[in-house]
């Protein structure tokens, strides 16, 4: 884990150094004099050897100092911390939607293999994994927001609703404050983005659950469970599904890591002020301090998610031991 994080820091450092546009010039603008440029470069340590710069970068980063945003003149770290809760909220809602739909569909499809429902759900899975989420998002917006007016067209809260920030996760904040109106508003705004972001994990989870269930239903211990007279319900839930979930958990973990990429597009489509939106606006504005903070924080999250999945895997499958 540590070598990977060191690698991530090297990649980000190198990337930000070869990206066109000198930081000092970007900070001072085109009309800066050579003297003031040189002074700023000295202040920022840009005249130092590369390894010294890398060392400064890494020690600062460990203290949460990623520099100052060019756009807002705020610490880049703070910008990231403002945007992070939105992305976490969106990702959690998306994965909940994906699991809540994907696993039951997969189980039902496996139980009725080759039935009409099975074929229908597998066609849906194929379409689901083939749809670009930015298009899924737009279609959902046009249909449920524009034409049917059932749900709002982007944003986080309805006009006129003000929610005090506690955790930054709107649903949670509204619950803590007991503000049901704000909760309702935030939930309504989250429905479409969660479905859009959750569509690919949903399809992948359904496919994986189906194939894992099919394999397990053929196992001897399932036959044993049935033959000792257990109810079908118990056989499926306690004996088959529990074991089928082992590969599904891995898929969910992998998909969690991919959600961050999807969040960039989803947040753009639905105008949500999250990490992905911050990444793209900062990149287009050449605000590299913020970009590198976003990238490092998201890489850290992926590494932690992967670790958590490994641990969960060991918990679910007692045959696996980590020493």
């Amino acid at each position: 884990m540590i070598p990977v994080l060191i690698g991530v820091s090297i990649f980000v450092f190198v990337g930000m150094h070869i990206v066109p546009g000198d930081v000092a010039t970007l900070l001072l603008g085109d009309k800066a004099t050579p003297e003031s440029l040189a002074r700023l470069q000295h202040e920022l340590g840009l005249d130092q050897p590369v390894y010294v710069q890398y060392w400064r970068f890494i020690t600062k980063a460990l203290h949460g100092d990623f520099g100052i945003s060019l756009r807002t003149r705020q610490p880049a770290w703070r910008e990231v911390m403002w945007a992070l809760p939105m992305t976490i909220e969106l990702s959690i809602c998306a994965i909940i939607v994906a699991i809540a739909v994907g696993i039951p569909v997969g189980v039902l499809a496996a139980l009725r293999q080759y039935s009409f429902f099975d074929s229908l759900s597998m066609v849906a899975v194929l379409i689901g994994v083939s749809m670009p989420i930015f298009w899924t998002g737009l279609i959902l917006l046009m249909l449920f927001g524009g034409t049917l007016h059932w749900l709002p067209i982007g944003g986080i809260l309805d006009d006129g609703i003000i929610l005090r920030q506690i955790t930054g996760i709107h649903l949670l904040d509204a619950l803590i404050l007991g503000d049901l109106k704000a909760f309702n508003s935030a939930a309504r705004h989250l429905v479409l983005p969660s479905i859009a972001l959750g569509s690919i994990p949903m399809a992948t989870i359904a496919r994986m659950t189906r194939s894992a269930m099919l394999e397990i239903l053929r196992q001897d211990y399932v036959r044993t469970a049935r033959s000792k007279g257990l109810s079908e319900r118990l056989v499926i839930i306690r004996h088959a599904l529990r074991n089928a979930l082992i590969p599904v958990v891995t898929v969910i973990g992998l998909q969690l890591g991919l959600l961050l990429s999807g969040a960039v597009l989803t947040e753009t489509v639905f105008a949500l002020p999250g990490l992905g939106r911050l990444a793209i606006t900062s990149l287009l504005a050449r605000d590299y301090a913020v970009v590198q903070a976003v990238v490092i924080v998201s890489a850290l999250m992926i590494v932690v998610i992967n670790l958590a999945v490994d641990l969960l895997y060991a918990y679910l499958d007692p045959r696996i031991h980590y020493t």
Binding site: V4, P132, M142, I280
Partner: protein, 302 residues
């Protein structure tokens, strides 16, 4: 051995060793592929889109770039089957021309990923030790980044544009091939045929590319097919974010991005380019699934 294969035994000059070669596996593979319904549908879709891309100039009813201010935002009709956009350009013609960019993006990005990834994976798996540790580290680090952020940074380094977006998507997908090939090589390099090749004095380069690589081809083909669809979506995504194809290029992702501003008044601008992406990607996914069933019986049904 399937029917239609032919065994050819060649004598190695100056020795008693006979080299047995299997010939004719390609047609039988193709025949088996045609038995898969999903592969056929996939092939038909891909073939159709390829034809559209090649003859775009002839098929497209209008110029995909020329603007006309008297026919802006027209809904689908007999003369403009898929409507016109905010600059009065025929959406059908733009989608037809966009097929070129989509196929090019899919194939180019995939090739970059394939060449880089396969080489790195082959070298890591074959040499083992520190070389392998480096390959594993490199792929782990690359996979620790959200792929889209990584692609965005690569585009930022090279500058926005469709070509650089394709390169970025290729680089980002590279670790997938490296992992796949490395894993396969690790299990293959202990096999007798590698030992035999080494015993007759074949160089490492020859062993890697002539003996080991051909045995990794099956999973690589499957991944390469599925990756085309993936690369098309990702390149379109970069264009959607403004980092790929630039105005007025008829590229599906960029068209979607333009249609976003009119989504409540002119639904057709964003709907049809997205549909084109979905159909194309379904084609490659179906073919990939079909190939996987044929080439890798263990994964059947997954």
């Amino acid at each position: 051995m399937a029917a239609g294969e032919e065994v050819v035994a060649k004598k190695v000059p100056g020795s008693r060793i006979e080299v047995v070669q299997r010939k004719g596996t390609a047609p039988s593979l193709f025949r088996r592929l045609l038995r898969s319904k999903s592969a056929i549908i996939g092939l038909v879709i891909i073939l159709g889109i390829t034809v559209v891309a090649i003859f775009a100039q002839q098929i497209a009813p209008y110029d995909p770039i020329k603007q006309s201010f008297i026919r802006q935002l027209r809904p689908p009709s007999a003369s403009y089957p898929l409507g016109t956009d905010e600059f009065g350009r025929d959406i059908l013609s733009r989608i037809i021309h966009g097929a070129r960019w989509a196929l090019l993006a899919g194939i180019l990005a995939d090739s970059i990923a394939l060449v880089l990834g396969v080489t790195i994976g082959l070298i890591g798996g074959y040499y083992g030790g520190r070389v392998d540790a480096f390959v594993v580290w490199l792929t782990d680090v690359m996979l620790a980044f959200p792929y889209l952020l990584l692609a965005m940074i690569v585009v930022a380094i090279f500058g926005p544009g469709i070509r650089n977006a394709m390169i970025a998507v290729g680089i980002v997908y590279m670790p997938q091939y490296a992992r796949l090939v490395r894993g396969t090589v690790l299990s293959l390099k202990e096999k007798e045929f590698v030992e035999a090749a080494r015993a007759i004095g074949a160089s490492s380069f020859r062993i890697m590319f002539r003996h080991i690589l051909p045995n990794c081809v099956a999973p690589i083909i499957v991944m390469a097919t599925l990756a085309v669809g993936w690369a098309i979506v990702q390149t379109a995504g970069l264009s959607f974010l403004g980092l790929g194809a630039q105005h007025p290029m008829p590229e599906w992702g960029a068209m979607l991005s333009g249609g976003r501003n009119y989504m409540l008044s002119a639904w057709w601008i964003a709907t049809f380019p997205g549909l084109a992406i979905v159909v194309t990607v379904i084609g490659f996914n179906l073919l990939g699934d079909g190939l996987r069933d044929v080439l890798d019986p263990y994964l059947r049904g997954r």
